[in-house]
């Protein structure tokens, strides 16, 4: 069995990624497809929020993924510092835009849910504000990568930002407990168990699992691209120097 370090070899990673892809993509499509049918056609309207509760089935998974991606990005950055594994930096770099998309979607769909329920598109409460800070952290992380040409230096600088910014993740999660917020309290991940009906929990869980698997699919595609671009850069440099290229 290949060790984790062996995937630092780009050719081996590309082969592994190609094998893994259908095991992520097909379950992702099934979870999102079935989740959508349950969310739109089977789950009941909420007794207080009516049909607007259907926004929950995309808003909550997007918000979970915004935190999951940041945690993965910070963990990969830390792994890059500790183990010097070249793929850790690639994984962190390519997680950032995916996380930024999910964070933007959490903010946008939350706004579309907030307007009919709260009467406002936006309120500066702790949950919304800390989630907006998360979006800016993603943008800052990507800007650092864009500003430094040498990948090793860019990974170190951006990695410090990712790890330091991780402090915002528990702040977002616990914001609804630590401060009086307009945003609803947690109803799924609670010490005393979920407080929503199974007819709503199933589509929510399937959509969340589907989005998580989709993150895996997008991450692999983007990591393959980054490795190919580094290979292209290496080929160009070696061609310019008149040396034979290595894998």
């Amino acid at each position: 069995m290949a060790s984790f370090q062996s995937f630092a070899n780009p050719a081996r990673f590309q082969a592994f990624a190609s094998k893994l892809m259908p095991w992520l993509a097909i379950p992702a499509a099934l979870c999102i497809g079935i989740g959508l049918v349950l969310a739109l056609f089977v789950s009941p309207p909420d007794y207080q929020q009516g049909e607007t509760v259907r926004i929950m089935y995309i808003h909550v998974p997007a918000a979970w993924l915004s935190l999951f991606c940041y945690t993965a990005m910070a963990a990969a950055s830390a792994w890059g510092f500790i183990a010097k594994h070249p793929l850790a930096d690639v994984a962190a770099k390519e997680t950032a835009p995916i996380g930024a998309v999910f964070t933007a979607l959490a903010l946008l769909t939350g706004s579309l849910w907030g307007k009919p329920m709260w009467g406002a598109w936006w309120v500066w409460d702790a949950r919304l504000t800390s989630e907006l800070v998360l979006f800016f952290l993603y943008l800052g992380y990507m800007a650092v990568w864009g500003a430094i040409d040498e990948p090793g230096r860019a990974a170190r600088a951006a990695g410090i930002l990712a790890i330091a910014g991780f402090v915002n993740v528990p702040i977002i999660h616990f914001s609804v407990q630590w401060w009086h917020t307009q945003h609803a309290a947690a109803s799924v991940f609670r010490m005393d168990g979920p407080t929503i009906y199974l007819s709503m929990l199933w589509p929510l869980g399937l959509m969340a699992l589907g989005f998580t698997l989709l993150y895996g699919v997008l991450l692999i595609i983007r990591m393959q691209t980054e490795i190919l671009l580094r290979r292209a850069r290496s080929l160009r440099l070696r061609a310019a120097a008149g040396e034979p290229a290595s894998a």
Partner: protein, 54 residues
């Protein structure tokens, strides 16, 4: 069926949320796939050029 699309009077909030989510994810996935295809072509061209130089 029209009742389904009306979403209890909240269609203007529910459907844009779904359209934004799947539109953004779809465009992002398509752009990611297109970038990988471009990178594959680029590497193939560079490897072919290197083969000719040898």
């Amino acid at each position: 069926m029209s009742g389904f699309f009306a979403m209890g009077g909240y269609a203007a909030f529910v459907w844009p949320a779904y359209a934004a989510a799947f539109g953004a994810i779809g465009v992002f996935a398509w752009r990611s796939l297109a970038a990988r295809a471009r990178a594959r072509r680029l590497v193939a061209q560079l490897e072919a050029a290197e083969g000719q130089d040898r």
